[in-house]
Amino acid sequence: MSEIALVTQLKDKFGDGIVTVQLDAIDAWVEVTAPALLGVCEFLRDVEDYHFDMCNCITAIDYLHTDPKKAEKVDWAPHMELVYHLSSVATKLTLVIKVKIPRWKDEATQQLPEIPSVASVWTTAIWHEREVYDLSGVNFIGHPELKRILCPDDWEGHPLRKDYEMPLEYHGMRGR
């Protein structure tokens, strides 16, 4: 399986940067640590026989159970997961990169979690990351213009978080 060759290449290049590899899932994915993300992405784009030159989609998944009963039944602690779907036009291959980051940089002051931005690797990531910032609240370091893209500029809160409540009113319009 060519993916195994790729994963071994990744492992010996980035060592502990690669956390876990899941090749038998419906879509094979590789989990990477946040600091190593930028390096892995540039490597994946430039390596000849894979050449992942198109970043299809960047998604943020919020793992948090609001009501405590369900929280115990689940084995993972509340965290945020960023999923990068990559594909290659040249070699028609696809790959999924995952990164686990804490839900808040620090809970008290509602500071958003940080992750290096891949905008310098794929230009399309500029808008995808702006959408993730807007809807899920993840701060991308090194992003050229991190602003809200879908919600109005003065909107508070990030809708796609599990613990998000619709504001009571917005500019005089009743929210709830």
Partner: protein
């Protein structure tokens, strides 16, 4: 079918008063008005009414000429220029009192000289009996055409006069002037070409860097360059932000 009989005695007088009045009135309007674009519009109306005066005097060709050249040509460019510049703080031009005094002195003296000459010359006095002042339906354009090509219309009777041998036409000066005008136009166009390409690199508008002519032969290399420019832009803050304070750091972009 002649729709409107022109035999009423005072008709000619009636229209003359209207046209002359509007010419002078809108002329003063140009002086008095504050708003630049209104000034330009009053000038158009005043020149239009002088065209009316020409028609009244039976000189249809010159009247149409005035309409086409002054009102249709020059005034369009003048309003064009005024429209482009009359933004924000250039619309209202206040004339201060000392300008008024200076203007009335200089203007007034010239006016006096003009009036003296106008009433002095014998041929220009209006006809004694107003009833026989009517539009003489001469074929106005033919004499002009003949004069242009060298037939002296006023000395038609003596044939052997050298001027009548077709060498006295106004064609030559006409052509010289038109060539002269052409040179002047080309010079003006050259001077006003878009200067911002050559050296004003620091300003925001220069980042467009593509004038209409250059865009025609846009080639692959240029496209690469825009691609590179984009990459470099990413460090500069978004150029479209309306607040001006970040305009300073644009200079390095």
């Amino acid at each position: 079918m002649e729709l409107m009989a022109v035999s009423w005695a005072y008709w000619h007088q009636f229209f003359f008063i209207i046209f002359a009045g509007s010419a002078i009135g809108f002329g003063c309007g140009v002086l008095i008005s504050q708003n630049i674009v209104r000034m330009a519009f009053y000038l158009v109306l005043s020149l239009g009414s002088t065209a009316g005066l020409f028609f009244l005097a039976g000189a249809e060709f010159v009247g149409a000429m005035q309409l086409m050249i002054y009102v249709g040509g020059t005034m369009v460019l003048l309003i064009f220029g005024v429209m482009l510049t009359a933004q924000k703080d250039f619309v209202n031009m206040k004339t201060h009192t000392h300008d008024w005094i200076l203007a009335t002195v200089v203007g007034g003296s010239l006016l006096m000289v003009l009036l003296f000459v106008a009433f002095g010359s014998e041929d220009w006095r209006s006809p004694q009996d107003p009833t026989d002042a009517h539009i003489v339906d001469t074929k106005a354009a033919t004499p002009l055409g003949l004069a242009l090509t060298g037939v002296r219309v006023d000395k038609l009777d003596d044939l052997n006069d050298p001027l009548n041998q077709g060498k006295s036409g106004y064609l030559m000066p006409f052509i010289i002037i038109s060539v002269h005008l052409l040179v002047v136009l080309i010079g003006a166009a050259y001077m006003a070409r878009t200067k911002k390409l050559s050296h004003a690199t620091g300003l925001r508008s220069s980042r467009a860097r593509l004038s209409v002519f250059k865009m025609e032969e846009e080639d692959e290399v240029l496209e690469e360059e825009t691609y590179v420019v984009l990459r470099k832009d990413k460090q500069a803050t978004n150029p479209l932000d309306t607040n001006d304070d970040n305009a300073d750091n644009l200079d390095e972009a």
